[in-house]
């Protein structure tokens, strides 16, 4: 079992005048950055990096980052910058990028170079995930949504080739063309850093991951449709002639651990409120219907059960905001938020592991309106009580992770011997 830590790095600014019941119109993507306070930004970036360092100290296997553009709910607009800092400042944990938004890069050779550098500086600790991005990414970087999927696939093929094939070579593709590919970098890991694929929506992406034998990570989706989506991965693998297992699938969801049940509830409620995300409870943000329906961004017909459920719950419309906007009680009920003391949290985590059988999990914490102290308390308790117990559970339930069994072959991966 591989256990990672994640926070979306919200821009928490109670002074913005935009969040809470202010009556100000905050349609997604339409809040002007004139309210952005760089001094607050500086504090927050450093806080989130500090929390990542502590997460490594507490024993997490992975430090996960993500990327969004033009939105206060995620400060990771240039995630590779954060990853670069972690590459130098951490020693053991994998740096898990879920992920770089391939289709918005007009020049993916930059990614070849940046990610190789991160892999080298971290001495081979990079996990390089790809995503297709939401509508806001296509809009922010002006990338044509109907070609999103084609560009994703071509950029992937190009990057893998540039990582594995001695240059110089030429690339004359439909969306990318280079006459001289010969970057003066190579990834540390052989043949290249592991590639993972997170997602919520697209059936095309999940099937592609299964076809490429790439681990697929479901992001904060509800359990039942998640199980169905994983089954689709396993069935596809079987059709393609290989045996997938827990090493091929991962799950990210909200877990907060605290000193008392009262404090846990009080703090976990901050997941769904506060001055960071226009869609959280008490804020008046509205989903931008055009943004979640950009022409051609995802196939109109080929969506996963997780998205069908999310769409239904919102009365149609698409997009991840509906999941965020679900009431706290409902999320506690269906385990998409697990909060409590270690004693009450562990059986619930066990239920999730038994039900969807992932080989990688990510605890999403320290988000919404949570403070640095909130995040640090939970991290400490996770290190002291949750992680050791979860590792035991995973052994008992036989849930090997992608660094124990090779997702492509199902074969055991030789474990490096510790150098003391």
């Amino acid at each position: 079992m591989f256990v990672g830590y994640f926070t979306e790095r919200p821009y928490q600014d109670p002074g913005s005048g935009y969040f809470g019941a202010t009556g100000k119109p905050i349609m997604d993507l339409m809040v002007s950055n004139e309210i952005y306070d760089p001094r607050l930004g500086a504090e927050l970036y450093n806080r989130y990096l500090d929390e990542k360092l502590y997460a490594e100290e507490m024993g997490f296997d992975g430090l996960m980052l993500n990327e969004h553009h033009g939105t206060p709910f995620c400060m990771g607009g240039a995630m590779n910058v954060e990853a670069s800092i972690l590459a130098r400042m951490t020693n053991r944990a994998k740096i898990v990028l879920l992920g770089n938004i391939l289709p918005i890069w007009d020049d993916p050779l930059w990614l070849v170079e940046q990610l190789s550098m991160i892999d080298m500086i971290s001495r081979g600790r990079l996990v390089s995930g790809w995503v297709r991005g939401t509508g806001r990414e296509s809009v922010a970087h002006n990338s044509p949504p109907p070609y999103n999927w084609e560009r994703f696939q071509e950029a992937h093929e190009f990057i893998v080739k540039a990582w594995t094939t001695p240059g110089p070579f030429r690339w004359e593709g439909k969306h990318y063309q280079y006459r001289h590919v010969n970057p003066w970098v190579r990834p540390y890991q052989e043949p290249h850093p592991p590639i993972w694929l997170p997602g919520v929506v697209s059936r095309d992406s999940l099937l592609w991951a299964a076809e490429k034998r790439i681990p697929y990570i479901m992001l904060a989706t509800e359990l039942e449709p998640t199980k169905r989506a994983f089954q689709l991965y396993h069935d596809t693998a079987a059709e393609l002639g290989y045996q997938s297992g827990s090493q091929n699938i991962g799950y990210l969801w909200k877990v907060h651990v605290d000193e008392t049940e009262e404090l846990a509830e009080q703090t976990a409620r901050k997941y769904v409120q506060g001055p960071s995300n226009p869609f959280l409870a008490g804020n008046e943000g509205t989903v931008n219907p055009a943004l979640v329906n950009l022409p051609g961004l995802t196939s109109r017909s080929r969506v996963l059960p997780t998205q069908a459920v999310a769409t239904q719950a919102r009365g149609g419309g698409g997009g991840a905001a509906g999941v965020l906007g679900r009431p706290y009680e409902q999320q506690i009920e269906d385990y998409t938020i697990i909060a409590g003391t270690p004693k009450t949290v562990l059986p619930k985590i066990r239920h999730v592991l038994e039900y969807i059988r992932p080989g990688s999990i990510f605890f999403w914490d320290g988000d919404g309106a949570m403070t640095h102290d909130d995040a640090m308390r939970s991290l400490r308790l996770m290190g002291q009580e949750i992680l050791p117990a979860v590792k035991e559970m995973a052994k008992e339930l036989e849930l090997p992770g992608p660094f124990e069994l090779d997702p492509a072959t199902g074969k055991e991966i030789p474990q490096p011997t510790e150098i003391s």
């Binding site: 809009v139 109907p146 950009l294 022409p295 109109r300 017909s301």
Partner: protein, 316 residues
């Protein structure tokens, strides 16, 4: 318009050439239409309710294999051919201006590849690609030196075709065409609004426009909104960046100097600012510019009387 399929003396298969567009109808999970529903959609598409009462014009749709595509082509009326290039939300069904112009012209209403009833051509990635395809298609159809009208995206398309081959057209009317970066204001970002908002923005005064509710019902039937989705996706492919214009077009339009060209624009156009009209006008030597007041992006609908009169006179 209602949902009941009309009875008709021709079988739908014969009436429609026996083919529907697989890109629109055949995707598993998108639309699995029964024969009944297909017929309903077909009736909806051509506003068949009206056709049942019309005696002056017979309309048909056929699928023609031209230039490597299965082109869906609606024809109707009598007289000299008049080719109509639809806009970015595809052929809206038969409207008043179609029917009235069909009294004096045979209207040809092709569905652009990728906009619904004609399957997409993978190699068409920008407007000049599409214009090049149309030149091949029109030649095969024998529609050379033909009168033509282009609306919005269809106007841009017709302008590109004309720059490549001005003799393709006998006379050309461009109605609020995209294709040029307006010197003042910007082309409305139709992909940062949903289809209904976009269509509404195209009107100066939707409430006073009788055909508005037909073009943009409060609750569009799924076939209509899916049709918008398909068309907007292809419009996105053709015009995402630069957004809905080709930088060299004003220079290239000089080639239209021998082609009688009329530009029609609504003064209050909320999609393509009227400032672009002047650029088109100056770029095409000898062109005629008609600006209609109290009118948005769709003069053919919002000021149907004036538009029909202008078109009749111009193409007479």
């Amino acid at each position: 318009m209602n949902g009941a399929p009309p009875s008709f003396h021709l079988s739908p298969e014969r009436r429609w050439g026996g083919q529907t567009n697989p890109a629109y109808f055949g995707q598993p999970g998108l639309l699995s239409l029964s024969g009944f529903a297909t017929l309903w959609l077909v009736a909806h598409f051509l506003n068949w309710g009206f056709l049942m009462t019309s005696v002056s014009a017979a309309w048909s749709e056929e699928t023609v294999a031209v230039a490597g595509a299965d082109l869906s082509l609606v024809k109707g009326g009598s007289g000299e051919p008049l080719l109509v290039f639809h806009d970015e939300i595809a052929h809206p069904g038969l409207l008043r201006f179609h029917r009235e112009l069909a009294e004096s012209h045979t209207l040809y209403l092709p569905a652009h590849p990728g906009f619904g009833r004609t399957p997409r051509l993978d190699w068409v990635m920008n407007m000049r690609d599409l214009a090049g395809w149309y030149l091949m298609a029109l030649e095969e159809l024998g529609l050379e030196s033909v009168n033509a009208i282009g609306f919005s995206l269809g106007g841009w398309l017709a302008a590109e075709i004309a720059t490549m081959s001005p003799r393709q057209f006998k006379k050309l009317a461009l109605v609020a065409p995209l294709g040029i970066r307006p010197p003042e204001g910007y082309i409305y970002d139709m992909f940062l609004s949903v289809a209904q908002d976009c269509i509404t923005t195209a009107f100066h005064d939707p409430a006073s426009t009788p055909e508005f509710t037909e073009l943009c019902p409060n609750t569009p039937p799924p076939e209509q909104s899916q049709g918008w989705d398909v068309a907007r996706e292809e419009a996105c492919r053709l015009g995402w960046k630069p957004y809905m214009y080709y930088p060299a077009l004003p220079q290239l339009l000089r080639r239209l100097h021998r082609l009688p060209t009329m530009l029609v624009w609504g003064q209050q156009d909320g999609i393509v600012p009227v400032s672009a009209a002047q650029v088109y006008h100056e770029a095409i030597p000898g062109s005629r510019l008609e600006i209609l007041d109290n009118c948005g992006h769709l003069p053919q609908v919002e000021k149907a009387d004036s538009f029909i009169a202008l078109a009749r006179e111009f193409f007479a």
